[in-house]
C-alpha cells in the first residue's frame, strides 16, 4: 500500500492552496502520479504503444484463418476425438467435422489465408503477421480471459496494460497511460500488486447522451460554479486536517486527485467527441452505419488516444462465443468488426503511426474443428463450435512485426499446434520485447517474490520480428 503515493511536494501543495481550486496545472498532477517506476530496457524498441483488440468469446480460427482440408472433406461426418476421456463437452458427442463457414482464400502479396467474411482485413493482409499456433491453458471464458490479460487464471495479478504502464511510464502527462474501452471485467484492467496509478481507466464510448464515458463524470451540483465552490470548501477542509497532522501523502493525493477529477469532467467528453472528425474518417471506420457504428467509434477513439500518447489502449468487442449456428452468427460479428478494425489499421498507417504502434488482435481462445449442437437435433448447418485453447489464431500488426508473415501450424484437423507454437506467455514476452522491455527483468516484489507478467515462462518469438 505504501508505494501508491503521489510525489507532489508540500510546497507545490501549498501553492495550490493559495491559488484556489482548479489552479494547479493538470500536467503537473498527472506527471507526478505517473512518474515511471521502472524502466527496464535492454532491447531497442520499435513500438511505443499498444492497441489491443480483444475479441471476447473466442472467434473461430477455422472459419477465419486456418481452414483444414481434412475437416472440409469430412464435413458432417464423424471424426476421431483427440480429447482426454476425463474431459466433458456437451453437444459434441457426435463428434462431427464442421467445415469452414465461408471460403478462406490467399490474400495480398503474401497469400495469407483470410476468410471472405473479413474483406477489410484481407485488404491489409500484407501489414499483419498472423499467428496460427496460439496456445492457452484454460477452456473457460473467465479463466482464459484472466490468463490472456494477466498471465495466470486463478490469482489476481496485474494486467498486461498495467505492466506496460509500469514499465514505460506515461507518454502524455495529461492522460492515463492505460485505457480500456468496453472492458470485460475488473481483472482485465486491474493493477494487482502494482501501484494503483497503473490501473487501466475503463471507458465507455457514449452512444447516447445519457451514457457517461467514465462513471460519476457528471457534475452532481446544478452547475460548474456551484460545484467549484463546493470543492473549494472540501479542499480547504481536507487541507486543514493535513496541516494539523503536519502532512499526509495519501490525503494530499486525495486533494490532487480531486483537482484532476474536476478537470476530467470537461476534458473527457472533449476527448471522446468525434463530431469534428471528417466524413472520410467516419466512413473509414464505418461510423454511422448501424452495424459498425459502436466498434467504429471505439476504434477511432483508440486511434485518438494512441495518437495522444496513451501507452496501452484496449478495445473489447464481444459476442464471438458461437456455440450454435456459427454460419449465421459469425458473419454478423465479422460485419460488425471488420471495417472498424481495417479502418483503424489504414488510418494508423496513413498517419505514420503504424510503425511505432503495435496492434494485437485475439480472443481468449479459439474454437473446435468439430461441431457443437446443444439441442441435439439441429442439422449440421446450424451447429456451432466449442471452446478450444489448444490452438487458435491471433494477429499482430505494426510496431516491429513482420507484415505478411503467417507463423505457426496446426495438425491436420486444427486441434494441436505442431509447429511454431506461441503460448500466451510467449505473446506477452514478445509484446514487451517490441516495446523495448526484457520480460524477465520487468519485475515487482510482492509477498516475498519477484513477480513478472510472464511468471517463470515466456520466450520472445524472434521469427516474427521485422
Amino acid at each position: 500500500m505504501s508505494n501508491t503515493r503521489p510525489t507532489i511536494t508540500r510546497r507545490q501543495m501549498l501553492s495550490t492552496a493559495a491559488c484556489g481550486f482548479g489552479s494547479l496545472a493538470l500536467a503537473d498532477i498527472v506527471h507526478a502520479m505517473n512518474s515511471p517506476t521502472a524502466r527496464i530496457s535492454g532491447v531497442t524498441s520499435k513500438a511505443k504503444r499498444v492497441i489491443f483488440l480483444f475479441m471476447a468469446g473466442g472467434p473461430s480460427q477455422q472459419d477465419l484463418f486456418d481452414p483444414k482440408e481434412f475437416i472440409r472433406k469430412k464435413h458432417g461426418e464423424k471424426i476421431d476425438s483427440p480429447l482426454r476421456k476425463e474431459v466433458t463437452q456437451v453437444g459434441t458427442e457426435k463428434f462431427l467435422a464442421l467445415g469452414e463457414a465461408a471460403p478462406v482464400k490467399p490474400r495480398g502479396q503474401s497469400g495469407m489465408m483470410i476468410s471472405d467474411l473479413l474483406p477489410g482485413l484481407a485488404s491489409v493482409a500484407d501489414d499483419i503477421c498472423l499467428l496460427r499456433g496460439m496456445n492457452a491453458d484454460n477452456p473457460q471464458h473467465a479463466s482464459a480471459t484472466n490468463q490472456f490479460h494477466t498471465g495466470v487464471f486463478t490469482e489476481v495479478r496485474p494486467s498486461m496494460g498495467a505492466w506496460i504502464s509500469y514499465g514505460l511510464g506515461t507518454e502524455n502527462k495529461n492522460l492515463p497511460s492505460f485505457v480500456s474501452i468496453h472492458a470485460p471485467g475488473v481483472r482485465t484492467y486491474g493493477s494487482g500488486f502494482l501501484p494503483a496509478d497503473h490501473q487501466g481507466t475503463p471507458l465507455t464510448v457514449p452512444l447516447t447522451d445519457k451514457t457517461l464515458p467514465i462513471e460519476n463524470l457528471k457534475n452532481a451540483s446544478p452547475n460548474d460554479e456551484i460545484q467549484r465552490k463546493r470543492l473549494e470548501l472540501t479542499r480547504r477542509q481536507s487541507q486543514r486536517l493535513i496541516d494539523e497532522l503536519h502532512g499526509d501523502r495519501n490525503m494530499e493525493g486525495m486533494i490532487q486527485n480531486m483537482e484532476l477529477a474536476f478537470r476530467m469532467q470537461t476534458t473527457t467528453p472533449r476527448l471522446v467527441d468525434i463530431s469534428k472528425e471528417s466524413k472520410d474518417t467516419l466512413d473509414l471506420y464505418g461510423i454511422g452505419d448501424k452495424e459498425t457504428d459502436k466498434h467504429g467509434r471505439a476504434c477511432l477513439l483508440a486511434r485518438k488516444l494512441s495518437e495522444s500518447g496513451v501507452r496501452f489502449v484496449q478495445v473489447t468487442m464481444d459476442g464471438w462465443d458461437h456455440h450454435g449456428d456459427i454460419r449465421g452468427n459469425l458473419p454478423r460479428l465479422c460485419k460488425q468488426t471488420d471495417q472498424p478494425i481495417a479502418g483503424l489499421l489504414k488510418d494508423l498507417k496513413q498517419r505514420g503511426l503504424l510503425n511505432d504502434t503495435l496492434v494485437v488482435w485475439s480472443g481468449e481462445f479459439g474454437r473446435t474443428p468439430w461441431s457443437q449442437d446443444l439441442s441435439g437435433t439441429a442439422p449440421i448447418e446450424k451447429h456451432g463450435r466449442e471452446h478450444q485453447p489448444e490452438s487458435f489464431c491471433a494477429w499482430m500488426a505494426g510496431g516491429g512485426v513482420k507484415g505478411g508473415l503467417t507463423y505457426g501450424e496446426t495438425d491436420h484437423m486444427g486441434y494441436r499446434v505442431v509447429d511454431s507454437k506461441v503460448h500466451i506467455h510467449d505473446l506477452h514476452a514478445t509484446m514487451l520485447h517490441l516495446l523495448g522491455i526484457d520480460h524477465t527483468r520487468l519485475t515487482h516484489r510482492h509477498l516475498g517474490r519477484d513477480f513478472r507478467l510472464t511468471d517463470v515462462h515466456g520466450n520472445v518469438v524472434k521469427e516474427i520480428l521485422a
Binding site: M1, T4, P6, E86, V87, T88, Q89, V90, G133, P139, Q140, H141, A142, S143, T154, E155, V156, V186, R187, A196, D197, T201, I214, E215, N216, L217, A220, S221, P222, N223, I226, Q227, K229, R230, L231, T234, Q237, S238, L241, L245, H246, N250, M251, M254, I255, N257, L260, A261, F262, M264, L374, R416, V417, V418, D419, S420, L447, G448, R449, N459
Partner: protein
C-alpha cells in the same frame, strides 16, 4: 502413522550414482543410434534451457548428461531406463500432461526414437561431473527461522519512563522507542480517540449522543465503558466478520462464469458475524471452519453451526464450469490450500503445488499431505446435464421451532402453488376451446378478430404463469442447507501431482501436516477419516508456532494500520521480520492464555497508551523512523469501502439493522435468469433488485457478485474492496482519480448530503446550531471558530448561486464535508 520425509526425498531426488551403476555397457549400435537420433534433438531443442549454457536450469533438470536425465529435476527423475511408459521425459514429448519442448510438439517419429532409446536402457556416452547437487529441504535448519520457533512468553522490558505505560503492551513499545532515543507524540484528544476506537471496533462513527456521553464522563473508567459497549454491539461482529471474509474469497456467486448463485453462502457470512459477536474462542473458531462437521455437538444449533463453519473451505472462486473434473478438483484443492496457508499460517502454500517452496522449508510432500485430506472431503459434484459442477451442500439439522416455521411456510407456499396450477389448467382449457372455435369459423366471420385477440391474450398469460410457476417451484421453502465439507466414503492418501498436473501423478504421500511447523510426529488419522480434524487440531494447537502469531499480528494491523510483521499474509523468509518480536510473542501468548479470546485482546489493545497516541507527525521522529515502525504515533487510515458507505448511512440516520439472511433476493424474478432448465447451463442470477431496506443496511449484507454489480454496492469497486477471487488479510489504500469522481458526484454521497441537510434544517433554526450539529455528526468533534466563520462565508457566497434555496444550499455544504479527508479517514 509416521511419515518419513527423508525417505521421500531419497525417493524423489535419488542420487545419480545409484542409477549410473545399473547401466550395462552400451553397444556400438546403441551409441550410433544415440548420436544419430537423440543427441541432435537434445542439442537443438533442449540444451538451451536444460544444458550447461542455460542461464537458469529450467525445472532444475539437466539433459546434457545421462546422470542429469536420471537425477531429473524438481519433480523427480526424467526417465526410468527401460520403462518408457514411466518416463516423464516421454510424457512431456508426447504433450501428455507436460508439454516439451514448449515451442511445439516434436515430430511423431522423433518421439518414437526417444521411446526406443529409453527402452534400450538409455545408452548415452555423455559424462558429466558438473551435475548440480540435489536440492533437498533441510527441515531442521528451516526450523531455526524465527516464525517456526515456538512462541515465547518474554518478560516485559524495563522502561525509563515508568509512569507512561498503561499496559504491558506499552512497555514493549516504549522500550524500543527509548533505545532509539525516540519520543512518542502526545496522546490524541478524547474526540479523536472516540472516533478512532468506534471505527476500529464497529466500522461506524460515534453518534452525537455517544460523543456527549463520553465527553461528559470524567470517571477513570470512561474509556473502558466505551470499549465494552462497542465490543458488545452487533456492529462489532459485523465489522470483524468482514475482515475475516477477506481471507475466504467469499461471494454470493460460485465462480466467475455465468453467475451461478451460491445460494447458501450467506449462512457462512452470518455464522461469522455471530462468532465474532459472541467472541467464540479463536481455537474453536479455527477447528470449526476446518472440521466442524467432524466435531461433536451437544445441541442442534451447535451442530448446524459446526457444519456451516466449514463453508470457509467452500466459498472461494470455484471454476465450476471447468469441463476437466480432475483439474477442477486439483484447482479447488489449491484454492483451499492457499486459504489455509494464508489465513492461519502466513505461508504461500499455493507455490508448493508444483514444486518445493523456493524460499521456505515447505515441500511438495507437505502440500500433498494436507491436500490428501481435502481430496478425501470432496467439495463439488457434477450436475446431471451440461459440463457444470456445483458446490456440495449439507442439510442442516433444525430445532423443532425452526421446523415448524418452515412447514408453515411450505403449507402457505403449497396453497399459492395450487391456485397457480388451477389457473394454469383453466387458461389452458380456455385456449383449447378458443382455438377449436377459431378452427370452426369461416374465413370472413366477424367473430374471428375478437377470438384471435383472446387467444393471444391467453398465450401471453400462460407464458407469464409458466415462468412464475418455475420461479415458485425453484424457491419453495426447503430444508436449510449450507455449503459444507464432508468426508468421502473412501478417504485416501494422494499422489504428488507433478507440476501440479493431475495427469502426471508421482509418489503417493501419506496425509499429514506441515513438517517444519510440527512439534511431534505426524498425527494419527483414524481409518475411514479424511484427517481434517487432525489438521484442525494442529492448526489450533498452542504449540503451533504460526497460528497465534499470524492472528494477533493481523488484529494489530487492523488497529495500527501496519502489522508488527508488515507482510501480514506472509511470514516466510522473504517476508518482513517483526518490528517488535517480543511484543508479537507476548500478544500471542496472552491471546492463547486468555482462552483465544479476540475481544479480550482487542480490549487490551485499544485501551493501551500506545493506541491512544495522536496521529500528528513529528519532524525529529520522522528523521529517525520515517515509516513509524517503532510506533511513535498512530497511523492514519483511509476507511474501507464498507466503512465509508456505512458511515454515510449512519450520519444521514438511514442505517437499518439487519438480521442477515440471503443477500440476493430470490423472491424477485428480476434477479433470476431462465429457471426452466432447458439449456445446459444452470440458472444464472444478477443483482437487479434489492430487498426493501437492503439499500440502507450495512454493506456486509449486500450480495457480493463476482462479475456484475449494481448501484448500491458500486462503492466497493472504487475503494479497494478485495476482489472475491483474492485472499488478502490487508486491503490496499489506493489514491486514484476515479475515487474523487465518486466522492464528488455519486448519488450515494449526493443523496446523503440532501437528507443530512434537510434534517439539520428541520432540527435547528439557527445556522450556528446547524453547523455545530453538522461538525459533530460528520467529523465527530466540535466546530472551530475559524471553521464556523468560513462556513458562514461559504453559505453567504453560495446563496445567490442557488437562488437562496435553503435545502440545496445546505446540501452543498454537507456534500462538501462528506467528500473531505476528515470524513473518509480515521486518524
Amino acid at each position: 502413522m509416521t511419515r518419513s520425509l527423508t525417505g521421500l526425498i531419497i525417493l524423489i531426488f535419488a542420487s545419480p550414482s545409484a542409477f549410473a551403476e545399473e547401466q550395462a555397457a552400451p553397444t556400438k549400435e546403441q551409441l550410433d543410434f544415440f548420436e544419430a537420433k537423440i543427441r541432435p534433438v537434445l542439442v537443438e531443442h533442449c540444451y538451451k534451457c536444460h544444458g550447461s549454457e542455460a542461464k537458469i536450469i529450467k525445472g532444475g533438470l539437466r539433459l546434457d548428461s545421462r546422470d542429469g536425465l536420471l537425477k531429473g529435476g524438481d519433480t523427480g527423475p526424467s526417465v526410468v531406463p527401460g520403462q518408457a511408459e514411466k518416463s516423464l521425459l516421454l510424457k512431456a514429448l508426447k504433450y501428455d500432461g507436460i508439454e516439451m519442448p514448449p515451442k511445439g510438439k516434436l515430430a511423431e517419429s522423433v518421439v518414437k526414437d526417444f521411446e526406443t532409446w529409453i527402452k534400450m536402457g538409455l545408452p548415452d556416452p555423455r559424462k558429466s561431473d558438473d551435475v548440480p547437487k540435489s536440492r533437498t529441504l533441510d527441515i531442521q535448519a528451516g526450523r531455526k527461522f524465527w516464525a517456526f520457533q515456538p512462541v515465547d512468553d518474554p518478560t516485559p522490558p524495563d522502561v525509563k519512563n515508568a509512569a507512561w505505560p498503561r499496559d504491558t503492551i506499552d512497555r514493549f513499545v516504549l522500550a524500543k522507542l527509548e533505545a532509539k532515543g525516540l519520543k512518542t507524540v502526545a496522546d490524541a484528544d478524547r474526540y479523536t480517540w472516540l472516533r478512532r476506537v468506534t471505527f476500529d471496533l464497529t466500522g461506524l462513527p460515534p453518534t452525537t449522543k455517544e460523543i456527549g456521553d463520553f465527553i461528559r464522563d470524567l470517571s477513570p473508567q470512561a474509556r473502558e465503558k466505551v470499549v465494552d459497549r462497542l465490543l458488545a454491539s452487533r456492529a462489532y461482529g459485523e465489522r470483524w466478520a468482514r475482515h475475516w471474509l477477506d481471507l475466504t474469497g467469499y461471494a454470493d456467486m460460485m465462480g466467475t462464469s455465468n453467475n451461478v448463485y451460491a445460494e447458501h453462502a450467506w449462512r457462512y457470512r452470518d455464522y461469522l458475524i455471530e462468532a465474532f459477536h459472541k467472541d467464540k474462542p479463536f481455537d474453536r473458531f479455527i477447528r470449526e471452519q476446518i472440521a466442524g462437521d467432524l466435531m461433536k455437538a451437544d445441541t442442534i444449533p451447535e451442530r448446524a453451526e459446526n457444519i456451516t463453519a466449514t463453508g470457509f473451505l467452500m466459498v472461494g472462486d470455484v471454476e465450476i464450469v471447468e469441463p476437466d473434473k480432475a483439474k477442477l478438483e486439483a484447482d479447488h484443492i489449491d484454492t483451499q490450500m492457499s486459504k489455509i496457508g494464508t489465513a492461519f499460517l502466513g505461508m504461500t502454500l499455493g507455490c508448493v503445488r508444483c514444486h518445493d517452496h523456493k524460499f521456505d522449508p515447505i515441500g511438495v510432500t507437505d502440500y500433498y499431505g494436507i491436500a490428501g485430506m481435502l481430496r478425501s472431503s470432496p467439495s463439488t459434484h457434477k450436475i446431471p446435464f451440461g459440463v457444470w459442477s456445483l458446490l456440495n451442500s449439507t442439510e442442516l439439522p433444525e430445532t423443532p421451532e425452526e421446523r415448524e416455521a418452515r412447514l408453515k411456510l411450505e403449507t402457505e407456499h403449497q396453497k399459492k402453488f395450487v391456485i397457480m396450477k388451477a389457473e394454469q389448467i383453466k387458461l389452458t382449457e380456455e385456449t383449447k376451446s378458443v382455438e377449436a372455435d377459431l378452427a370452426r369459423l369461416m374465413k370472413d366471420d366477424d367473430k374471428k378478430a375478437a377470438l384471435t385477440k383472446r387467444r393471444d391474450e391467453l398465450t401471453e398469460q400462460l407464458k407469464k404463469l409458466a415462468a412464475s410457476l418455475h420461479h415458485a417451484e425453484f424457491f419453495r421453502s426447503k430444508m436449510p442447507r449450507a455449503f459444507a465439507m464432508h468426508d468421502s466414503d473412501t478417504p485416501a492418501d494422494m499422489p504428488i501431482y507433478i507440476r501440479g498436473n493431475p495427469y502426471a501423478p508421482g509418489a503417493v504421500v501419506p496425509r499429514g501436516v506441515m513438517s517444519v511447523a510440527s512439534w511431534e510426529k505426524q498425527p494419527e488419522i483414524p481409518k475411514g477419516q479424511s484427517g481434517r480434524l487432525q489438521l484442525a487440531n494442529w492448526l489450533a494447537d498452542k504449540r503451533n508456532p504460526l497460528t497465534a502469531r499470524v492472528t494477533v499480528n493481523r488484529i494489530w494491523q487492523k488497529l495500527f494500520g501496519e502489522g508488527l510483521v508488515r507482510s501480514v499474509d506472509y511470514f516466510g523468509s522473504r517476508g518482513e521480520t517483526p518490528s517488535h518480536p517480543e511484543l508479537l510473542d507476548h500478544l500471542a501468548t496472552r491471546f492463547m492464555n486468555n482462552g483465544w479470546s479476540q475481544q479480550k485482546l482487542l480490549r487490551a489493545l485499544v485501551l493501551s497508551r500506545i493506541y491512544g497516541l495522536s496521529g500528528v507527525n513529528d519532524e525529529s521522529a520522522m528523521k529517525l523512523d520515517p515509516d513509524n515502525r517503532l510506533i511513535w504515533r498512530m497511523n492514519r487510515q483511509r476507511l474501507e469501502a464498507e466503512a465509508i458507505r456505512d458511515s454515510l448511512l449512519a450520519v444521514s440516520e438511514e442505517l437499518q439493522q439487519s438480521e442477515g439472511g440471503p443477500g440476493l433476493v430470490l423472491e424477485e424474478p428480476e434477479n433470476c435468469g431462465d429457471l426452466a432448465l432447458k439449456g445446459v447451463n444452470p440458472p444464472n442470477y444478477t443483482h437487479r433488485k434489492s430487498r426493501a431496506n437492503q439499500e440502507f443496511q450495512r454493506t456486509i449484507y449486500l450480495p457480493v457478485m463476482r462479475t456484475n454489480t449494481t448501484s448500491t454496492d458500486r462503492i466497493r469497486n472504487f475503494f479497494d474492496f478485495v476482489n472475491p477471487a483474492q485472499i488478502a488479510g490487508q486491503r490496499s489504500q489506493t489514491v486514484v482519480p476515479t475515487q474523487s469522481l465518486f466522492l464528488m458526484n455519486n448519488d450515494l454521497f449526493r443523496k446523503r448530503a440532501k437528507i443530512l441537510a434537510d434534517k439539520l434544517i428541520a432540527l435547528h433554526a439557527q445556522p450556528n446550531d446547524r453547523l455545530m450539529q453538522l461538525w459533530l455528526t460528520v467529523y465527530n468533534r466540535p466546530i472551530t471558530q475559524e471553521e464556523r466563520d468560513h462556513a458562514i462565508k461559504f453559505l453567504t457566497d453560495l446563496s445567490p448561486l442557488v437562488q437562496a434555496k435553503e435545502s440545496l444550499l445546505w446540501q452543498e455544504l454537507c456534500h462538501s464535508l462528506l467528500a473531505s479527508n476528515e470524513f473518509v479517514f480515521r486518524i
